[in-house]
Symmetry: C2
């Protein structure tokens, strides 16, 4: 079954006192935020794909938003899901802030990836639109220092809505995209650059950048910024200002389009993401990079492969790492298959070194081979038992995740 729900995109009701909204599943992130924005509210869920992706898709894939530190990931945002399954309607009678009700069928719907039914609507938390939204950025002399800064930030009470660390390759890419600054501004920018590269012993080939989005009341934002910058300075960070921060944040929205863009230049590009415990970050990055270079050489692919990574999310026990891979495939036969194999090999290495199957992209068909390294056999059997009993005719036979052939 494949159903387009884009016309089911209405807001059914809003309850301002209880900070809830009930929305049909076909609404896109942009439309939802626009509707709420007019009324002074937001949901705050901003995946890279916010302009294209829909509420139902977020739930089905267990999506993550860039500002999850303030608003939560999709499972934190949703208080009730309605799914039409082969046997009827799966939903709670009422949403609740938190409850102990025995088994929670709602919990099963996140990440269901179309295998069990169609999500038709959901009740979400809403927030007053933050009074202040402020960007900033800090440069660190190398990746390791940036990671150490994030680690120490992760145990504080001043984690901003979004914080991300980009590696040197992405940092330079971002700098290259800077709008040309003229006159006095240009002089100032050059002075800053000189200062960063020469005076403080920063090396342009090693430095990396952290960008922040801070939201809230002016007092909240002030508290966050003051403490973030103080912590950054302890790690030798140089404040880059709001221009770098905003550009870094907005750049990520381009990701949903970047693959098509690269294809025009005979470059195959893809993003890969994973969750990694703090102690394994360097290991995973190194292993992924080495594997890409090894396979690139082994298959005699021309030029140099491109790999860069960033940490777009921090958690108490680990982070999400987001890789961007690319290579020129002009005149390479079956280049997509080859690239697919390389990606598969990199995922294997990532997981062997402590990364998860996915932080927010989900499993689908592409990553089905890695479920064995994710769940125990009986865990998968439990879900299969449930699916087979509830959908004996396999009406929802899309075959994603553990149901992929």
């Amino acid at each position: 079954v494949s159903v387009d729900l884009r016309r089911m995109n209405k807001v059914e009701w809003i309850n301002e006192k209880d900070r809830r909204i009930c929305v049909q599943a076909g609404i896109t992130g942009s439309d939802l935020e626009a509707w709420l924005g007019e009324r002074g509210y937001c949901v705050g869920h901003e995946p890279d794909s916010v302009e294209l992706s829909t509420l139902g898709g977020w739930i089905a894939t267990n999506a993550s938003g860039m500002k999850k530190n303030r608003y939560g990931n999709i499972e934190d945002i949703v208080e009730n899901v309605t799914m039409i399954s082969p046997k009827g309607i799966i939903e709670q009678v009422e949403p609740f802030a938190r409850a102990s009700i025995g088994f929670k069928p709602q919990n099963i719907l996140f990440g269901s990836e179309g295998n069990l039914g169609i999500i038709t609507k959901a009740i979400l938390k809403i927030h007053e639109k933050p009074k202040i939204k402020k960007y900033n950025s800090v440069m660190f002399k190398n990746w390791e220092t940036g990671v150490e800064f994030l680690y120490n930030l992760s145990r504080t009470n001043f984690i901003p809505s979004s914080v991300r660390l980009v590696d040197n390759v992405q940092f330079r890419f971002g700098q290259a995209l800077k709008p040309r600054t003229e006159g006095l501004m240009k002089i100032k920018a050059n002075i800053q650059k000189f200062f960063v590269l020469n005076v403080k012993g920063f090396n342009a080939d090693e430095m990396c950048a952290t960008t922040f989005v801070m939201e809230g009341t002016s007092s909240e934002v002030r508290y966050q910024e003051k403490n973030i910058l103080a912590l950054a300075k302890k790690h030798g960070g140089l404040v880059g200002g709001s221009g770098n921060g905003k550009r870094g944040y907005l750049l990520t929205f381009a990701i949903a389009y970047v693959r098509d863009f690269l294809t025009d230049f005979h470059i195959i590009g893809e993003t890969m993401e994973t969750t990694v415990p703090w102690s394994k970050i360097d290991e995973v990055c190194k292993a992924a990079t080495e594997t890409l270079f090894e396979l690139h050489a082994k298959h005699n692919i021309p030029g140099k492969p491109y790999i860069s990574y960033r940490i777009p999310q921090i958690y108490h026990t680990g982070v999400c790492i987001y890789f961007m891979l690319g290579m020129s495939v002009k005149n390479i036969p079956h280049s997509e298959d080859l690239f697919g194999n390389i990606e598969h090999a990199i995922r294997k290495v990532i997981m062997e070194h402590g990364g998860s199957i996915s932080h927010h992209h989900g499993v689908g068909k592409l990553r089905k081979d890695f479920m064995d390294a994710t769940l125990s056999d009986s865990s998968m059997e439990l879900i299969k038992d449930m699916k087979n009993a509830h959908d004996p005719g396999n009406v929802f036979g899309i075959g994603n995740g553990i149901f992929a052939k």
Copy 2:
């Protein structure tokens, strides 16, 4: 199947860098915190029953801790559960901070209430023990003002580890339990009392109290306290100081023992708890109180019934309300059945007015009749399908929640 796991109470490993601990399910909260405390860490899960209840029980009942604002409820704390089910071992291969892996069998184990298998161990988040722990309290002139204060607090970034509002009845009970203060202290206490009751127009029969536990670095605690007190003053609150706050917090640990204590005096007492959206708090409290008095009169029970309530937890979209009920049952035949019926009637009224079946006690057998008002039929069928397929012999036949007869 009923198995005592208290001897399975070992810590299997701790990973300080990744802030994780793997613990067997039979450990009690007190033992877990003692073990961690010696090493400078804590989990921070403090249900009222922390001295008696165990890790496995917390997961099976979907428990909530008093300091959930800082440490999360049990589902936020646990990153991996191992359950022995009739078909094998249900667990993730690795814990992860957050991931999108398709269906998450782990999510089903919270609130499973013994219906599916035995939880043998879990991996939990740990935190450095907070450097500072500070108590404070604020008195408000009445319940409604206290609720309004909590509502406004719930949208800030300075929510303390624990905040609770107690109604007038509980407030006076707490005051009565105060250790006698002598000499100068006594004079000071009396002056404070006079000031509260006379100068500011506070009425002893209406005022209520909010207690706070603030934890973190000195800068965190300072930020919280400064902002909390400023917000409280906007609501006409009077700062009660740390003595009231600490007593209020510690009193709640006595709850696990209070029922037995009351029985000695021919008083039947019980606690009831529910989740309520912000907009329904007054309605639910009023309806529960009226129902108790009505039924007490209808059944010609001697004396006056006791009911008091507090809000021990706040969330973005609602709160937990915790009721304490009591009545004298000297010379009343079948008093336990009668009391059970009254409790049942109150739960029904609570839910009709917008409360949930339970915030953290779970369903068990006592509240089985209210599952129909909690989940859609197909939701329950989905879980039953899963259970029947995975445990066809009903080995785990304890019959809780939707499986209760």
